[in-house]
Amino acid sequence: MSVIVILIIVSVLVAGGFLLAFLWSVKTGQMDDDYTPSIRILFEDEIKDLKKEKI
């Protein structure tokens, strides 16, 4: 039963890792714009350009 001590410490550390990732993403400005990325999803990839080059 005391193995739960290790389990909890590890899981808190893993969760802490995610917290650090969140803090890092805020720091590098990923949370500054929460709307435009949703628009960018609609763009098509560069496939069209390749097609045009072939012509």
Binding site: F22, Y35, R40, K52
Partner: protein, 798 residues
């Protein structure tokens, strides 16, 4: 004949230009399409229908010459290193997916552009370009050409004033949320264990991890409350953060005591949970509308550069370097940057933004023209009389009346929190005395439990979430408030002052009125034939006006156009002289009526006939809205910078109970508001343009009305889009409902408090009870706030 719609911008084509199977309304739109087609960028048209901005058929290349000036470039560029320059522009035309797509693919049109990234909500674009391949001027020209002309003005660009505070808020919320959820999880063994499950020494492990996790919450996330409470106390003022800070401190201390003395597990989960919810509430309330600027001063109104004539050659220089007696060249649609004397002919100045006068005014050579006016005719030359900072309009900003800080009213919540604290302390003292008599052991647990449960956190949650919701609902109907304090200020308003031009009327919507001797059918045909030949915007309006009355035209024998002044023509039996009143006077024809403001005078065969007056139409629903406000008991006033020609109309529309004053200068308006405030009224000013800037600043709540949100809006507390002004009465009502919602929710949360108090005063508040009560009350407050905000919004919902 079926009218085609332009493939690029969606306007109906008067004369369609066709390529393959696509129609365009003008050369401009067609050229943009061609450019995109050549570069393989036609996905622009696939992402949204008709996404283009109307090119208006012309493109002025000289407009951006001032960008070649190195000093000006310094002001705009954010960062420069080798062959990379970073710059940010405000592009108000961004409105759809295609805009974002095109702007982020600019590098395909010009390889000098290395990278471009847009921010949709702020309507900004950040560009990295190579100055050796493309100059700043060429970059701006390209942007303008595809329809996204950047707004560049004197005020130093707003990117300097970005808010970094938001990041700190998010850090605090992240940490509080992490710690709160983990503490909650790790507390379950404590709550759910009956002695069947032997925890033994493990119990200590869980408890100490909780203690460890609660430290960042106390020391970092909750620090804002402590600092604010301390600052308030130093000014001898109990704000809402004081009891909150007290509650957090007491909860933590008692928990530490219980843990260390091994008498209990503490209330760390409730403490971290409530900190988390309150921080989220504050973040929710801080909704800001980043693409609007509420704090503009006149600097944002003026352009960055100006063209001067030096020894006959055109030179561009920064506006800040403009000196007296320099000769300035102002082209069509450009703004006059400083008070100057007119040197050349053809000036037709639109002062609507500055004085509120309806239509462009013809100015004679040698007369003074004022900064802030926009030239509507062809290019003119001016000699600067006063430096930019000392023009008539900018001096208003230096008025001492505006120096006093705007009424920083304490939130209505604060007096409530004072009562709250007093009641709380009373209950705590009573509890303490009761137990000191009956069972002294229970004093400390009971008293601290009281302080834990009765946290005014629920009041803060209620307030922040309700204001956040109300702000968003109002924003949905295009009334954008600067912050939550504005909603409270609106609540206290008892007087509303309206401007006329641009506020009650629509800048773009005009109709013509003729006053004078009746014209015969033949005469009207003749006049129409003449005005039809002129390219002047006023002539076009007259043509359209007459088109409704007569369909025929005749040819004329002779026509002489005097640009900027008028036209003289002979048409059949009639000699027609039409133009400004100065023009007619110079021909020897004197008017037989009062000629005020901007009108077009008409004389036939040497006899003055009448005037065509240009009127802006009143906005739809305006009359109803004003009457609604009147019925609700507000004192209403109308202040206009225009001539009193509209007085009769207004009296008919609005009744005679509303005081109306005309020809008000910006200072007059400012003093009027001040006088009302001295009498004890709380005034809301509704206006647009520079002529209302002083009044908007002085009033308790300043609402700037605009039709194009990217145009200059003077410093205000809220921005309202003109199309929604018919709802204004309902919008104000809704803002006032915020207080009602807060009171209702708070009454409900008191019920939770009473239940909790029962446990607390009887010293039976176990951590589990606290841990259950806290999230239930918090979540129910948030849900109720959203529900009531929605329910009360029925009148303003689309």
């Amino acid at each position: 004949m079926l009218q085609e719609t332009c493939y690029h911008c969606g306007l109906k084509c008067a004369t369609a230009i066709q390529i393959k199977e696509k129609y365009f309304c003008c050369d401009g739109c067609k050229m943009v399409y061609s450019l995109l087609d050549e570069n393989g960028l036609c996905q622009y048209y696939d992402l949204s229908a008709m996404p283009g901005v109307t090119a208006k058929g012309r493109f002025i290349a000289d407009k951006f010459n001032y960008l070649d000036n190195a000093a000006i470039q310094e002001q705009l560029i954010q960062f420069k290193l080798g062959d990379q320059v970073h710059i940010t522009f405000y592009l108000p035309q961004i409105h759809c997916v295609s805009c974002v797509w095109l702007l982020e693919n600019l590098s395909k049109i010009n390889p000098g552009i290395i990278h471009s990234q847009t921010h949709f909500e702020k309507k900004e674009i950040k560009i990295i370009y190579n100055p050796t391949l493309i100059s700043l001027k060429e970059l701006v020209q390209l942007l303008s050409f595809v329809g996204y002309e950047p707004v560049i003005h004197l005020g130093g660009n707003d990117w300097l004033k970005k808010k970094k505070v938001n990041k700190k808020q998010l850090y605090k919320i992240g940490i509080a949320g992490f710690c709160f959820s983990n503490i909650m999880m790790l507390s379950f063994p404590e709550y759910l264990s009956n002695d069947a499950l032997e925890l033994g020494s493990l119990r200590h492990f869980f408890i100490y991890i909780n203690l460890l996790l609660s430290l960042p919450v106390l020391l970092y996330s909750a620090s804002g409350f402590f600092i604010s409470a301390y600052t308030g106390l130093r000014q001898k003022w109990l704000n809402i953060d004081a009891p909150i800070a007290l509650a957090i401190a007491v909860t933590f201390s008692r928990s530490v005591y219980e843990i260390v003395s091994q008498t209990g597990a503490g209330y760390l989960d409730s403490m971290s949970g409530i900190v988390f919810f309150m921080l989220v509430g504050r973040w929710f309330q801080d909704k800001s509308y980043d693409s609007f600027a509420f704090d503009r001063d006149y600097n944002s109104f003026f352009p960055l550069g100006v063209t001067i004539l030096k020894e006959g050659k055109e030179v561009n220089k920064p506006l800040s370097d403009l000196l007296k007696s320099e000769i300035v060249l102002i082209r069509s649609d450009e703004m006059i940057p400083a008070d100057s004397t007119l040197l050349t002919d053809g000036a037709l100045i639109d002062y609507s933004f500055v004085t509120g006068e309806n239509a462009p005014i013809a100015v004679a050579v040698g007369q003074l023209v004022y900064a802030g006016g926009i030239q509507k005719g062809r290019a003119i030359q001016l000699e600067v009389v006063k430096p930019v900072g000392q023009s008539y309009i900018t001096e208003l900003w230096n008025s001492p009346i505006l120096k006093t800080e705007k009424n920083v009213e304490k939130s209505f919540v604060h007096p409530w929190s004072q009562y709250f604290t007093i009641v709380l302390l009373t209950i705590a003292i009573m509890t303490g005395s009761y137990w000191s008599v009956n069972d002294p052991h229970k004093i400390l647990p009971a008293v601290t439990a009281v302080l834990i449960v009765a946290c005014p956190c629920s009041l803060l949650l209620t307030v922040t979430f309700t204001y956040g919701n109300v702000l968003r609902w109002l924003g949905g109907r295009k009334l954008y408030c600067k912050n939550a304090a504005v909603i409270e200020a609106i609540h206290k308003i008892d007087t509303i002052v309206f401007d006329k031009t641009g506020t009650l009327t629509n800048h773009d919507d005009t109709h013509l009125e003729y006053r004078g001797a009746n014209l015969t059918y033949q005469e009207m045909i003749a006049v129409k034939s003449v005005t039809r030949e002129s390219l002047h915007p006023l002539s076009k309006m007259i043509t359209q006006f007459l088109m409704l009355q007569v369909a025929d035209i005749t040819s004329f024998q002779k026509i002489e156009n005097f640009i900027g002044k008028g036209t003289k023509a002979t048409c059949g039996n009639f000699e027609i002289v039409i133009g400004s009143v100065y023009f007619l006077k110079s021909m020897g024809i004197l008017p037989d009526q009062e000629v005020e403001g901007s009108v077009v005078c008409l004389a036939i065969n040497g006899i003055f006939k009448g005037v065509f007056k240009i009127n802006h139409t009143y906005r739809e629903g305006m009359q109803k809205m004003i009457l609604q406000l009147n019925n609700k008991g507000y004192h209403l006033h109308l202040l206009s910078g225009d001539h009193p020609t509209e007085k009769e109309n207004l009296l008919k529309l609005l009744g005679s109970s509303i005081p109306m004053l005309f020809e008000q200068s910006p200072e007059d308006k400012l003093h009027y508001i001040q006088a009302l405030q001295i009498k004890g009224h709380r005034v809301m000013m509704v206006g647009d343009g520079l002529n209302d800037a002083g009044a908007l600043q002085k009033s308790n709540v300043g609402v700037a009305v605009t039709d194009q949100t990217h145009l200059f809006t003077p410093a205000s507390d809220a921005i309202l889009e003109g199309s929604e002004i018919y709802l204004f009465s309902d919008l104000i009502d809704y803002a006032k409902k915020a207080k009602l919602i807060i009171i209702l929710i708070f009454i409900l949360s008191i019920i939770y408090n009473i239940i909790g108090m029962y446990f607390a005063t009887s010293a039976r508040l176990s951590p589990m009870v606290a841990a259950i009560l806290m999230p239930i009350s918090s979540i129910s407050i948030v849900a109720l706030s959203a529900l009531l905000s929605f329910a009360f919004s029925s009148k303003i919902r689309a």
